[in-house]
């Protein structure tokens, strides 16, 4: 028997070490953080970190984006990738309008409904006949989420780095959803995904309840009318 077969890990390690002797040198150079030359743009690191952190900062955004990935995985085929392509672009459209100051009524309610309805779609493993319907639903909610992010963007950062971090984080959340959604191949996995949809829907109900509460210091509406009003700095459904 070949002696090397008894210690495969060791052999692999040392073979790699012999074949790539420059690897440790490259690693050392990588971590030495040498002086770099760049444009004079302030806040690069802060911009990327802030942008990357932003989508993770609210459970409402996380649940909706993971739900998009889960639903895409349930739909399978082209839909698995169509939805994550549609969502960032439409979300950026919403963010663009938020940034330039175009108001969007019912923002908080729309975001709450996104978790509720997307969770419902995952729970019911709904598969529309045409892909256009999931794309429209996801796109609409992406618009609401993007607008909320656009109005919340902090000044004093690098816009490019912030935007890149923000989009990468959003895409990462979708990929998380898609990865979890791969459990759909097994019966137990299907049940687990649908349970996750139920949890997301429950979160959506809670978000909706919070969104419908009056702002602190404001009198509660005497009667629900369905009208949209603007208390303070946000829109609430009453």
């Amino acid at each position: 028997m070949n002696a090397n077969m008894t210690t495969p890990m060791k052999t692999d390690l040392f073979t790699s070490w012999r074949r790539f002797p420059w690897l440790p040198i490259a690693a050392i150079l990588l971590i030495l953080a040498p002086k770099a030359q760049a444009h004079i743009i302030k806040g690069e690191a802060g911009g990327f970190a802030s942008g990357f952190h932003h989508p993770w900062s609210g459970l409402d955004h996380i649940t909706a984006m993971v739900a998009v990935g889960l639903w895409g995985a349930q739909l399978g085929g082209r839909a698995m990738w169509l939805l994550p392509v549609v969502f960032p672009i439409v979300m950026a459209c919403g963010g663009f309008l938020g940034l330039i100051g175009v108001p969007l009524p019912g923002q908080e309610v729309g975001i709450a409904l996104s978790a509720l309805l997307l969770g419902l779609m995952v729970l019911g493993a709904v598969k529309p006949k045409h892909l256009i319907w999931p794309a429209i639903l996801v796109g609409t909610f992406g618009f609401y989420h993007g607008h909320a992010h656009g109005t919340e963007l902090p000044p004093g950062q690098s816009g490019l780095f912030y935007s890149i971090g923000f989009v990468i984080a959003t895409g990462t959340l979708h990929l998380c959803g898609i990865t979890i959604g791969l459990l759909n191949r097994w019966p137990a996995g299907k049940a687990a995904i649908r349970s996750a949809g139920a949890v997301i829907m429950g979160c959506g109900v809670y978000f909706l309840w919070v969104a419908l509460q009056p702002e602190p210091g404001e009198p509660a509406p005497a009667k629900a009318t369905g009208a949209l009003v603007t208390p303070g700095d946000g829109w609430h459904h009453v």
């Binding site: 444009h39 663009f96 100051g101 490019l160 912030y162 890149i164 989009v167 990468i168």
Partner: protein, 207 residues
């Protein structure tokens, strides 16, 4: 000393260095390797230049080898020409660098994400426009920063572009399976989304 001990010693040294990194100074400090390397360094540290160039490479690759070859030939030359024009310009204190960068990202990202069947000549035209605009802004930037004569830095960028477009376009050309092509399109949608958000940011007036 055995090989395993050597590996452990090196890994320990790496860990030690990792725990005490040097401060990165990223403001127009030259590499010390000469102007061509300064240009290469500048390009890799400027995502406003790097990402549109990558998006163009992906677009050219999605459109096939003919479009890839044209982009490979046109983009570095156009960047050089634009850089030369920018270095020759005087008195332009505030070029619209951010807006050009944002719109480049948006346009090229949308084209990659939508996978529109553009003719190779149109891709080459886009490469020319991108190279001229970004090269010009780089030239003006180098001039304002007082970085030597600037042309060698632009040459370094052009060489880097040649390599980047060759690799990026080749990667997209061989992306034949559905999942690989879709992955390129997803990347395009992310680029477009970043460009659109950045456009809004610039219009909003954040600095």
């Amino acid at each position: 000393m055995s090989e395993r001990t050597t590996v452990r010693a090196i890994l320990s040294a790496i860990l030690a260095l990792w725990l005490c990194p040097a401060r990165a100074e990223a403001h127009l400090v030259t590499t010390g390797l000469g102007p061509v390397y300064d240009g290469i360094d500048h390009f890799f540290l400027s995502p406003a230049d790097e990402i549109p160039a990558l998006a163009l490479a992906l677009l050219a690759g999605l459109r096939g080898t003919a479009a890839g070859r044209r982009a490979l030939a046109v983009l570095p030359v156009a960047w050089l020409a634009g850089g030369w024009a920018g270095l020759a310009t005087r008195g332009w204190s505030a070029p619209p660098e951010e807006m050009v960068g944002a719109l480049s990202l948006l346009l090229l990202g949308v084209l990659v994400a939508s996978d529109i069947a553009l003719p190779a000549a149109v891709v080459a035209g886009l490469a020319g426009l991108l190279g001229l605009a970004h090269g010009f802004l780089d030239g003006v930037g180098f001039l304002q920063a007082g970085m030597g004569k600037g042309m060698l830095e632009i040459t370094g960028i052009a060489v880097t572009l040649f390599v980047l477009v060759a690799l990026g376009a080749a990667a997209a050309v061989v992306a034949k399976p559905m999942w690989a092509r879709t992955a390129v399109r997803v990347l395009g949608s992310w680029i477009a989304a970043s460009g659109l958000l950045w456009t809004g940011w610039v219009l909003h007036g954040f600095k």
